[in-house]
C-alpha cells in the first residue's frame, strides 16, 4: 500500500479527498490506476505532472519502482529559465 498525496489543485479531480491509499509498484502503474478511477486526472496528466516518491522528484521517468509504504506526491510540471 502506498500513500498518494497531491497538491490542492488536483483535489477536485481526485474526488475531493486530501490523500489516497493505493496499490501500485511503479509510477506508470499508479498513473494508469489513477486515471481509471478518476478520469478527470487525465487532463492534469496531459498538462504535465511531476511525481515525488518520499521527496525524490521524478519529472519524466515513469518506470521507477515504488516501495510499499512510500509516499507519492503529485504536483504540476514546472518550467525553468
Amino acid at each position: 500500500m502506498i500513500n498518494v498525496s497531491f497538491t490542492s489543485s488536483f483535489r477536485a479531480a481526485l474526488g475531493g479527498a486530501d490523500a489516497l491509499e493505493m496499490e501500485a509498484t511503479t509510477l506508470r502503474e499508479l498513473m494508469r490506476i489513477l486515471v481509471a478511477k478518476y478520469p478527470r486526472m487525465q487532463g492534469h496528466i496531459d498538462d504535465g505532472i511531476v511525481l515525488a516518491i518520499n521527496g525524490e522528484i521524478y519529472r519524466d521517468n515513469r518506470d521507477v519502482e515504488i516501495q510499499d509504504g512510500s509516499e507519492v506526491f503529485l504536483m504540476p510540471r514546472i518550467q525553468g529559465g
Partner: protein, 759 residues
C-alpha cells in the same frame, strides 16, 4: 554501476579544478559565431510589420503594393500560416503569437512579414503594406485586468482550477492552490501577524544578443534553421509542427548564445522565417532589433502579491499565506496547467519549515507581450514579497532577521510548501554561512544599510542524449545536445576526463545539431551540467567497457582480468606482471584492428536534480536627496551540490545577482495609457553595467545531491531569487522605508521618504 546515478563519494582528481574555458579565445577575439553571424548563399532579408496598438481587430491587410515592389520575394500574413495545431491550445497560442490572427493582442504583435533582396527593399515593402485596424479596449495592468469592468481579452478563456467552472469568460485563466496544514488555526496561534501587499514591474532578461536566425526550406520539404536558442531540438519540433513538416526533415543548428536566461526557450520569429523561405524558395535571414526584442519577445511577468505571516514570540512561524497575481501577456502560461503564478506559489515559502501554509496563484492575461521564463521563473517576485515580510516579522518580534530565518529554515524531512518532503538540502547551511561571514560584521556608514534574503529553485533533469568518441590519437570528442549557456562544455569535458582518467586538455566538447543526436530538452531549469553531465558519465563508463574489451584483444587475456584505472587498462594478478598498462591512446591507436572506432553513448532522462538554495547579503547606500541607491557590497552564498568548475559556478552566482540587482533598482517596462511600451531600448530601460556594481563575492557550499555520481545540483538560476528582497531589506535598514514596489528606483524611494517624513 554503469547507469547508476547514485552519489559515489569518490575522490575527484580533475573535477573542481579551474581549467581554461574552451570557448574563451573565440569569444574575446570575435571568432565565435552568434545567431546573426550565419549567412547562406542567396539569402533574403526578413523583416516584420508589427502592431502599433495594444489591442485591435485587424479588419484588412493589403499587401498588393508591397508585392509589386521590385526585390520583394515573399510576404507572409496569418493567411499563409494555416492552423495545423489540431486542438493543441498551447501550439495554437505559439502560432498566434508568431503572427496575429484577426486581432493584434499587444503593442509589437507581428501582423505581417516580408522577405526581400536587401534590408532597404524590405523596409520599403513594410511601408507599403496597409493594415486597417479597429481599436479595441485594452488592459496592461494585472490588477486592472481582474476588475469586473476590465475588457475581457479572450471570449474563450474560462478560469481553470475553480469549482464550479465559471459561466463567463474572464482574464483570470487559472487559479492554483498549494500548501498543507490549517492556516486559520496557525494565524490564531500567532503572537504577531504581519500582512503586506507588493507589486513588481515587468522586466526583460536583457540578453545582449537579439534573436536571429537563417531559415531555408527546400521544395522537397526538407529544411534547415541556424539559430540562437537555448533548445534547438525544441525549436525543431515546434517549427515543424506549426509548418506541417516532418520533424526529422528539419535540421536545426544552434549558434553560440549571447545570453538567453529563459527568453530563448520559446520561438518568436523562427517559424515565420521558415515560412518566408518556403514561399520565396530562398534562404531568409532575420535579426530582431533591440526594440523588437523588448516589444515582441518574452519578458517576465509583472505581479501583484499579498503576503501574511504569523509567528510566536519565540520566532516560530505558525502560519504563512500568499496570494500571487501574475500576468502572462495575452496567452496562458507556457505549460498548460502550470502557469507563472502557480510556479511562484510553489516556490514562495520553500525555504521554511512550516506546519501551516497556503498559497494561491492567480494567472491573468493582459495586452502585453507573451511572458517567457526568466531564470528561476516567477520566484524572484514572490521572494521579494516573502523575504521583505520576514524582515518585518523579525522587527515586530525584536529578533534578528537572520535568526528568524535560521529558526524556521527547512531541513531534511521538512514538507516543502509545494508538497514533497525534502531530502538533504542546503538552506540551513547557507544561513549559517551568512552568520559566520565577515560581511555581516563589516561597519556601515550614514545612509547605508545591510539586508539579507533567501531563495529557492527546483532544478530538473529531462531528456538527454550524448556521444563520446575516442580518436585514434586518444583525444576525445563529446557531442551533446544541451546548449551551452553557462559553461557546460568545460564542465562536461571535466566530467569525461574524470571518468576516463585523462587530462582535461585531451577532451573537446561540441554542441551537435539536431541531425546528430536524439532529442535533448531545452537548456533550462539549471539542467545542462546535471543532465548532460550524467549522460557523459554513463557514456564514458560505456566507453571504458569497450576500452577493456580492446585491451583484452590486444593482450589476448580475459576481459575480467582487466581493470580501468588512472586512464589505463591494467591487468590484474602477478601472472600478468609482464604486461605494462595500456593508456587510452595506446588502445585507441590499435582500434582499427581491434574492432573499429571506440565510443560511448547514452540517452537517458535524469531525475532528482536536487533543489537549490541561496542566501544573499547586500549593503546599500541611499542618497536621501536623489533617492538613488548604490550597491556597495554584495555576497552570494549558494549550495552547488558539487561545483564541477568553480569559476563558472561563481560566474553563475554573480550573474544572477547582477540581474537581480537590475530588477530591484532600475528595470521596468513602462506602458502609456495607450497601451504602448514607452521604453523599448537600453537607454530608457537600464540594465546594470560594470560601473554600477561592486565585485560580487561568492561562497560555494557543497551539500552533495545523493542522486548524481558527483553530487551535482543545478546552479544557474537560484542566484537571481534573493536580490530583490535583500536590497529592499537593505534600503529599509538604511533609511527606514519599507519598499513594496520594484524597481526601487529613485522616484519611488523619494516618494517613500516623503511619505515617511510627512507621517
Amino acid at each position: 554501476m554503469a547507469n547508476d546515478p547514485s552519489y559515489t563519494k569518490q575522490k575527484l582528481k580533475v573535477i573542481g579544478s579551474r581549467v581554461r574555458r574552451p570557448d574563451g579565445v573565440d569569444k574575446v577575439t570575435g571568432r565565435a559565431k552568434y545567431g546573426a553571424d550565419h549567412n547562406a548563399p542567396g539569402q533574403l532579408v526578413g523583416l516584420f510589420l508589427r502592431s502599433p496598438h495594444a489591442h485591435a481587430r485587424i479588419k484588412k491587410i493589403s499587401t498588393a503594393r508591397a508585392e509589386k515592389l521590385s526585390g520583394v520575394k515573399a510576404i507572409i500574413t496569418s493567411e499563409d500560416l494555416p492552423d495545423l495545431t489540431k486542438g493543441d491550445t498551447a501550439a495554437r497560442d505559439i502560432l498566434e503569437n508568431c503572427m496575429a490572427r484577426g486581432r493584434a493582442l499587444y503593442d509589437g504583435h507581428a501582423v505581417a512579414a516580408v522577405a526581400a533582396v536587401d534590408e532597404q527593399t524590405a523596409r520599403k515593402a513594410l511601408k507599403l503594406i496597409k493594415v486597417t485596424y479597429e481599436l479595441l479596449p485594452h488592459v496592461t495592468d494585472v490588477d486592472e485586468a481582474l476588475k469586473p469592468d476590465a475588457p475581457v481579452i479572450h471570449d474563450y478563456l474560462y478560469t481553470n482550477g475553480v469549482e464550479p467552472r465559471p459561466t463567463k469568460p474572464s482574464n483570470l485563466y487559472n487559479v492554483a492552490e498549494f500548501g498543507h496544514g490549517d492556516v486559520d488555526a496557525g494565524f490564531a496561534q500567532a503572537d504577531v501577524v504581519v500582512e503586506k501587499s507588493y507589486k513588481t514591474e515587468q522586466v526583460h532578461q536583457g540578453y545582449i544578443e537579439p534573436h536571429a536566425c537563417v531559415g531555408s526550406v527546400n521544395p522537397d520539404g526538407t529544411g534547415e534553421l541556424w539559430v540562437t536558442t537555448q533548445g534547438h531540438f525544441t525549436y525543431r519540433s515546434v517549427c515543424a509542427n506549426l509548418l506541417g513538416m516532418d520533424i526529422a526533415k528539419l535540421k536545426v543548428t544552434s549558434s553560440e548564445i549571447g545570453g538567453g536566461f529563459g527568453g530563448k526557450t520559446h520561438v518568436w520569429i523562427e517559424p515565420v522565417v521558415l515560412a518566408l523561405s518556403r514561399k520565396a524558395n530562398r534562404p531568409v535571414k532575420a535579426v530582431m532589433s533591440r526594440e523588437e526584442v523588448f516589444r515582441a519577445s518574452g519578458p517576465a511577468s509583472s505581479t501583484s502579491i499579498d503576503v501574511k505571516i504569523g509567528a510566536k514570540k519565540d520566532g516560530t512561524i505558525t502560519a504563512a499565506f500568499a496570494a500571487l497575481r501574475y500576468q502572462s501577456g495575452p496567452f496562458p502560461g507556457a505549460i498548460p496547467g502550470m502557469p507563472w503564478a502557480a510556479i511562484g506559489a510553489m516556490t514562495s515559502f520553500a525555504c521554511y519549515n512550516l506546519a501551516n501554509v497556503k498559497t494561491l496563484g492567480y494567472d491573468v492575461v493582459v495586452n502585453r507581450p507573451k511572458v517567457a521564463a526568466y531564470r528561476a521563473p516567477s520566484a524572484p517576485m514572490i521572494a521579494f514579497a516573502v523575504e521583505s515580510t520576514m524582515d518585518m516579522v523579525a522587527k515586530e518580534l525584536g529578533i534578528e532577521p537572520l535568526d528568524l530565518r535560521i529558526k524556521n529554515a527547512a531541513r531534511e524531512g521538512t514538507r516543502a510548501c509545494y508538497g514533497p518532503v525534502y531530502g538533504p538540502i542546503g538552506i540551513g547551511a547557507t544561513l549559517q554561512a551568512v552568520k559566520n561571514h565577515p560581511h555581516m560584521r563589516a561597519r556601515l556608514k550614514k545612509n547605508q544599510g545591510r539586508g539579507m534574503a533567501c531563495g529557492f529553485w527546483f532544478n530538473f533533469g529531462g531528456q538527454t542524449c550524448a556521444d563520446l568518441n575516442i580518436a585514434t590519437d586518444g583525444s576525445v570528442t563529446l557531442t551533446v545536445g544541451t546548449i551551452d549557456v553557462g559553461g557546460s562544455r568545460a564542465s562536461l569535458s571535466l566530467i569525461a576526463a574524470e571518468e576516463l582518467g585523462i587530462p582535461y586538455k585531451q577532451v573537446k566538447a561540441h554542441i551537435g545539431d539536431t541531425g546528430s543526436l536524439g532529442h535533448n530538452d531545452t537548456t533550462e531549469g539549471s539542467r545542462g551540467t546535471f543532465s548532460s553531465g550524467m549522460a557523459i558519465v554513463f557514456a564514458a563508463r560505456q566507453a571504458i567497457e569497450v576500452l577493456r574489451e580492446r585491451a583484452a584483444i590486444m593482450w589476448e587475456i580475459p576481459i575480467e582480468d582487466i581493470i580501468w584505472k588512472d586512464g589505463h587498462a591494467k591487468a590484474r594478478g602477478s601472472k600478468y606482471s609482464r604486461l605494462k598498462p595500456l593508456s587510452l591512446a595506446d588502445i585507441a591507436a590499435q582500434s582499427p584492428s581491434t574492432g573499429g572506432p571506440i565510443a560511448g553513448h547514452n540517452e537517458s532522462v535524469p531525475d532528482n536534480a536536487g533543489v537549490s538554495f541561496a542566501s544573499h547579503i547586500c549593503d546599500v547606500e541611499v542618497d536621501p536627496e536623489t533617492g538613488g541607491t548604490r550597491i556597495i557590497r554584495y555576497t552570494v552564498i549558494q549550495d552547488a551540490g558539487k561545483a564541477i568548475h568553480p569559476t563558472y559556478v561563481e560566474g553563475q552566482m554573480q550573474g544572477g545577482a547582477a540581474q537581480g540587482i537590475g530588477w530591484a533598482l532600475n528595470e521596468e517596462y513602462i506602458y502609456g495609457d495607450d497601451g504602448r511600451l514607452q521604453n523599448p531600448g537600453f537607454l530608457d530601460y537600464r540594465i546594470p553595467v560594470c560601473s554600477d556594481l561592486p565585485f560580487i563575492d561568492t561562497q560555494i557550499l557543497e551539500i552533495p545531491n545523493p542522486n548524481h555520481p558527483y553530487g551535482v545540483r543545478g546552479v544557474g538560476e537560484t542566484s537571481i531569487v534573493p536580490p530583490l528582497a535583500a536590497i529592499g531589506n537593505a534600503i529599509s535598514n538604511a533609511v527606514g522605508v519599507r519598499m513594496d514596489h520594484t524597481p526601487m528606483s529613485p522616484p519611488r524611494i523619494l516618494k517613500a521618504l516623503e511619505q515617511l517624513h510627512a507621517s
